[in-house]
């Protein structure tokens, strides 16, 4: 991070780097190739569905991070902008004359414009201050609009929501977007475009000032910038991209309901963004990918996945406020020093027992849950490919012992890991 911001005046090429609009092409080309190639690796329909959901979450999380990470504004009702964008797209889909004269790939733009329109209205009064007051206003407005969805049936469709048919659009170079794979490439195209645009936005003077206002609004004011307007611009831009995500959702699922607006969706996007890491541009992307995968896999395996997700979230906030991206970027200095190898053995010694201990803890939790909530007489449960009777003492002893031993080993090896970490971050030879 730091080398991007500090400039060396003796090198003219570096002087403008902080605000320059250039892209480091490498990662973007890799991302584009990956986006295009993934359907050939995961060819099944369920794979495509999961990937579509993932990319939509990526756009939404990146838009959210324009507020939280780059602007320092915590919003508890951001699902509203995506939702309203999606609902607007749905109405366009249902306006058959207009929709029949428009190619489907343009639809997310309209979603974005509607999301932006709402953000213009709300931002006019909510961006006056950041922090707690902003968070409260976002919560109130979010609740207000979510509650309106059941009352204003003409626009939100009441409890059953509104649905449409994406196939009614003007064929786009002969494509009707009836099949999943066509929708995938439409989504992938928009994800790529949105991500590039959001990255470029963070490089513009406005994007840079958003960071300044986040860190020290008072000083930004003294430099002659109105921190309120800087926040307002970030908010409106974020509303636009949230609306794009909503439009993609409308295209992909062809139905929008109250669920797209409510506080639970807003909470999930906060969770995704924070897990991924708010400090880096790629954090939310990582968060969206990991969260969607975890959600898909875990929700198949256990009823308690929301409990695990919640625990993971609280642990992240408490111990790794940088999120996943922060954890990864922590390893850049050791890599630069060429000392990443020092960490390998201590990592194996600590993390593997810790993982085993946590799995043991999870099985204790699962067994307690089964013991309390399974139907009477149903004593059998299957956990980690073994079937046993949850009402006998033996499985409890095994799970408890695994937990204690795993966490115990991790605890005893942790100081060695810390030492290795300090060593890996120290330049020069062994001290």
């Amino acid at each position: 991070m730091s080398d991007q911001i500090t400039t060396d005046p003796s090198k003219p090429a570096q002087r403008m780097r902080a605000g320059s609009m250039t892209l480091t092409l490498g990662p973007w080309i890799v991302a584009a190739i990956l986006l295009a190639a993934l359907p050939f690796i995961f060819t099944s329909n369920s794979g495509l569905t999961i990937m579509n959901q993932m990319w939509i979450t990526v756009v939404f999380a990146l838009a959210y991070n324009m507020l939280l990470g780059q602007g320092g504004m915590l919003s508890f009702g951001h699902a509203v902008y995506a939702g309203v964008g999606g609902f607007a797209c749905m109405h366009i889909m249902n306006a058959s004359d207009f929709f029949a004269s428009m190619p489907l790939p343009l639809l997310p733009i309209f979603g974005g414009l509607f999301g932006m329109g709402l953000a213009l209205i709300v931002g006019a009064f909510s961006t006056r201050s950041a922090g707690t007051v902003f968070a409260m206003i976002s919560l109130g407005v979010g609740e207000l609009i979510a509650a309106c969805s059941v009352i204003i049936v003409a626009f939100f469709g009441g409890e059953e929501g509104i649905s449409g048919d994406r196939g009614e659009a003007l064929p786009f170079f002969g494509l009707n977007f009836w099949s999943q794979i066509e929708v995938y490439y439409l989504t992938a195209f928009w994800v790529f475009i949105s991500a590039v645009l959001m990255y470029l936005w963070s490089r513009t003077p406005v994007g840079r000032m958003a960071n300044a206002v986040r860190d020290n609004p008072e000083r930004a004011e003294f430099l002659g910038y109105s921190s309120r307007w800087v926040r307002f611009y970030s908010f409106v831009a974020s509303g636009f991209f949230a609306g794009v995500a909503g439009g993609l959702f409308a295209i992909n699922y062809e139905i929008l309901t109250e669920e797209n607006l409510n506080a639970a969706s807003s909470g999930v996007i906060l969770l995704v963004t924070f897990l991924g890491g708010v400090g880096f541009f790629f954090g939310p992307i990582l968060g969206a990918i990991v969260f969607t995968l975890v959600q898909t896999v875990l929700s198949l395996e256990t009823e308690l996945w929301a409990f695990y997700a919640g625990s993971l979230f609280v642990a992240t906030v408490m111990f790794f406020p940088g999120g996943l991206a922060g954890l990864i970027m922590m390893h850049v200095p050791p890599l630069r020093l060429g000392k990443l190898g020092v960490l390998t053995v201590p990592y194996i010694k600590t993390l593997i027992p810790a993982a085993i201990g946590i799995l043991g803890l999870c099985s204790l939790v699962e067994m307690t849950f089964h013991y309390r909530h399974a139907a009477t007489g149903d004593h059998e449960m299957t956990l980690f490919w073994t079937t046993f009777d949850s009402h006998t003492i033996l499985p409890w002893i095994i799970a408890g012992a695994v937990t204690l031993i795993g966490l115990g080993i991790a605890r005893t090896t942790a100081p060695a890991l810390k030492e290795a970490w300090n060593e890996a971050n120290t330049a020069g030879g062994k001290r």
Binding site: G140, A147, I151, M318
Partner: protein, 318 residues
């Protein structure tokens, strides 16, 4: 006339219940500058603990013990959670309490399941206190009013008249000076957090039998509590009281009188369009006050934030 009196009592019950939550929340806010998102979750914990204890030892023991347990849990959260996150700044603190609210809801579902618990009030209070024009007022409601008011009186007395209250008030405004005078300020903060959450626990125990003990109860009341203290002015105890009563009465009256939007609009001189079924605003015309009763607090909050951002009783913000 009689109906107004009944509604006044009902609104008072709701308002005082809200106040028990918002009082603790606003105290914690003025102390740490962070809104405890999980505050309503402690209210839910109070209801569930109360239910579990009342099964074994009866309602009255539950009313005494459950808030204490909730208070200890709250103090623990402050000591081992919030104090740790505090170093990262206010936004992570807010996110932490938000995550905690999620976690507590999942935890409650994990232990007690998703169904409503059969939590009943005490048998002693299971009679009609008095009736107003055929509308009977249960004794339990009177009991709720009595408990809330006595807690408010007690809180006010402790905060303004006792030595402990003086130290707390001083620690709110000048923590460093108070620390220099030899008081353990982190301990005071932990204590206030614990007492605030214990108040929420009391509210949970007495509201559980009336409003239902189910995993969504924190969410139902939670956002209204934030709205309350924003309207009242962040950090103001009197503001919290006034806003709670205001919201209690507004929602109760909106629910019991069926005012139609059409009548209101006609009243101020806007004629009903001829063909409503095709009109873009048909839902707007068909609005009734019971329908929007639950979102009235949010509308009120948005209006307050636009026209008086510091809240009714709040101090002017910089």
């Amino acid at each position: 006339m009689e109906l107004i009196l009944v509604n006044l009592i009902d609104g008072l019950v709701t308002g005082l219940l809200l106040f028990m939550l918002s009082a603790g929340l606003t105290l914690i806010f003025s102390m740490m500058g962070v809104l405890n998102f999980a505050h309503a979750s402690f209210y839910m914990l109070g209801a569930y603990f109360g239910y579990q204890i009342s099964l074994a030892l009866g309602f009255w023991v539950a009313l005494l013990v459950a808030p204490v347990i909730v208070g200890i849990a709250g103090a623990g959260v402050e000591r081992y959670g919030l104090r740790r996150v505090h170093q990262y700044g206010h936004v992570p603190e807010l996110i932490f309490t938000f995550g905690l609210a999620l976690l507590i809801e999942e935890l409650v579902q994990f232990i007690w399941g998703k169904n409503q618990m059969p939590f009943n009030g005490p048998e002693v209070l299971n009679f009609t206190a008095f009736a107003i024009a055929g509308n009977s007022i249960p004794a339990y409601k009177i009991f709720m009013i009595f408990i809330s008011i006595s807690i408010f009186m007690g809180l006010l007395y402790i905060l303004t008249k006792t030595r402990v209250g003086m130290i707390i008030q001083a620690a709110l405004s000048y923590p460093r000076t108070v620390e220099a005078l030899g008081h353990n300020v982190p301990l005071i903060f932990m204590g206030v957090f614990g007492v605030g959450t214990a108040l929420a626990g009391v509210a949970g125990v007495i509201a559980g039998p009336v409003l239902g003990t189910f995993p969504g109860m924190a969410f139902v009341l939670g956002s209204i509590v934030f709205v309350t203290i924003v309207i009242g002015g962040l950090g103001s105890l009197w503001g919290a009281l006034v806003a709670s009563l205001l919201i209690g009465w507004i929602t109760t009256f909106a629910k019991s009188y069926n005012v139609e939007m059409e009548a209101v609009l006609n009243g101020i001189g806007i004629a009903t369009p001829d063909d409503l079924s095709e009109n873009l605003f048909r839902d707007f015309w068909a609005l009734t006050s019971p329908q929007i009763a639950d979102i009235l607090p949010y509308i009120l909050m948005v209006l307050i934030l636009i026209f008086r951002p510091q809240g009714l009783f709040g101090k002017r913000q910089s």
